[in-house]
Assembly symmetry: C2
Amino acid sequence: MESASGSNAGPEPGDRVRVERGADAYEGVLLPSSTPESVVLKLDGGYNVAVSRADAAVEVVESDTYDIEGAQDVTGTSEITFEEDLPTVSLISTGGTIASTIDYRTGAVTAQFDAEDVLRAVPDLAGRANYRGRVVANILSENATPEIWRELAEAVHEEIEQGADGVVVMHGTDTMGFSAAALAFALDIPVPVVFTGSQRSADRPSSDNVMNAVCAIEAAKADCAEVLVCMHASESDDRCALHRGTRVRKNHTSRRDAFETVGREPLGEVIYDGGETAVSFRRAHAERGGEELAIAPELETDVELLKFTPGTGEALLEACEGKAGLVLEGTGLGHVHTDWIPRIGGLIEGGTTVVMTSQCIDGRVCDRVYDTGRDLLEAGVIEAEDTLPGVAKVKLMWALENSEDPEALMGTPIAGECTERSIPWA
Amino acid sequence: MESASGSNAGPEPGDRVRVERGADAYEGVLLPSSTPESVVLKLDGGYNVAVSRADAAVEVVESDTYDIEGAQDVTGTSEITFEEDLPTVSLISTGGTIASTIDYRTGAVTAQFDAEDVLRAVPDLAGRANYRGRVVANILSENATPEIWRELAEAVHEEIEQGADGVVVMHGTDTMGFSAAALAFALDIPVPVVFTGSQRSADRPSSDNVMNAVCAIEAAKADCAEVLVCMHASESDDRCALHRGTRVRKNHTSRRDAFETVGREPLGEVIYDGGETAVSFRRAHAERGGEELAIAPELETDVELLKFTPGTGEALLEACEGKAGLVLEGTGLGHVHTDWIPRIGGLIEGGTTVVMTSQCIDGRVCDRVYDTGRDLLEAGVIEAEDTLPGVAKVKLMWALENSEDPEALMGTPIAGECTERSIPWA
């Protein structure tokens, strides 16, 4: 970066400075709106702070770190102040329709955005929390990968470690459920981690952008410590549902209320009445602060999901030879064509962990009822109980890397993804 | 077969005979309950007919065709008579839980069962229709194949050709929707073809066997000419839903009301009130007799369905090289990871017809919205509109064999499987 204004004569706008005054200390970028009376700093979270020069010590940390010219319009008009009595919510962007409304500042030192960027994108968020922002990815969510899930888990972990009272992850809707499940397995969390997104972009009158963002922020402040998905609960703009991240599915290509908790009521909801909001939970959930923050983000990525349908040849199964794991989406209670069973047995003998789920989506697999199922169990196939197929894939990736007995883990709920078998379907 | 009683002295019980009397003619097996006054025959449909010997001509068609000893208990006590004023419903069995209640007669000349077998299995069917039965397969439905769909289509065609006023297909529930779709594409029908099955076997108190069978028979008599799926509409024993065969999905592994019409109301329902029934339709449907019977049962079987989920490697796509057709179950509006697109383009260049559907299940694919989709369209991927993924696989099998322009056909409704694009999701 050019250093035209760089000199040792004293702090210049654009310099990163540290200001100490009495017991307070601030570090940030010196803004041109500083006056002879006060030093105005942009803090890393995007908030502007004005500190009286009287008795203040101003020290240059790094010269000319910030392209103040390019950002002038923005920084010069900031009126956002940090409010001590509001919780701090960290916003993490991964891309997708909702994130496309945030115009990341060119020239920023790191891939971060700040409170000002957030409020410029969604002014309705003002006054609900202090915001902090970071960019983990900028992708359409069909391009999400286990590697991005790992980075996302680490970013969320870091934000909570640094004091965030809740985290909102802005994510494309296509694979939001997969990412939410990945975080639910990778993290133990004492605060809510709330995924939200948008089915309609902000330039359309029917956009769900604002309401989803507002409700997600409110959910992130709630007394909860789960990975949630917060999206429209109906075609009206009246409330968002709060889905458990391991039980949610995008069940419509385009509706704003596309997301559903499979086979149960959502955990809770956020009423949205012209900006007035109310968060409530109707089912048992982990409470804020009940668990210590912890992270286990590594995944075995050599895992496939294969859906069996009539007429499916064996070439697809052959392609799974040597894989670490395979999740089958069988028919009904968890079946495939009888011809597949010896080959599946071969995969298992070759070291592949094979897990059965059902393409019915709802309901529990139960391979003890019919011959096909019993033969599958005998071949060594593991039942994923009522785990959703996509979630079972993410869980198997996690279990193979983090558990000494991944097979036993697949039938045991660890993040609300399945329920223990009680009475089999009667 | 032993011919101990075979002689040329005259017809003996067990012989297949033809009886002509005035304008009437009957062919069937001579029963021991024949008397000097009347000839008692078991017709092929299982009905017993007594014909006065006065002025009757009895001719042996084939000696000793039927093991009358083994069947004595059954045939000797038959009280089932053909009733002229009832419609004739043909029951076709393919196996599965519902068919397991029918104890196929050993010693039968062909794989058929008759009215007596049907009524012994489900006495509640008595008086609702004259029955005719045949066995097309005796498999668990996860073992259904395109070859069995073809045989089933031919059997249904034959039954209707021979005068059935409606057809009921007893089928395992796992792949019932696939078979129903296959018949909907293969046949033009002037009468209803109603699939039914059972989620709980007859030996369990919660069995749905009887109610589903009764409602299916009533639906087969209705003013309709569609391939329907008739299964419990709720967890109560109060009604069955009538789903269009190309829009139905088994959405629960074990519930009796597992079947749902995706994204719409079912076509109609059969109220079931202690055996009293009432069929009604609430949506437009093809009417009885509106179409000539026709069949086009051939299928291109070299078609796969592949579901894309995050982290899916390219090995599965590679396994589809050289296939005639491939249905992709993409994310959201119809997306896959960007890395897949060049390889999909390669498949298409190699002659594979590639069709996009969505794992959301409900809603229309629309690949003109985001970059990924536009790139897929540019590579030559065909959109299946709002066709269900499994149904799209069956349709592609049919289209590749029966259409000169299968690609155009995939976006055009031919059996209610999709709707024309009107206003794209707005």
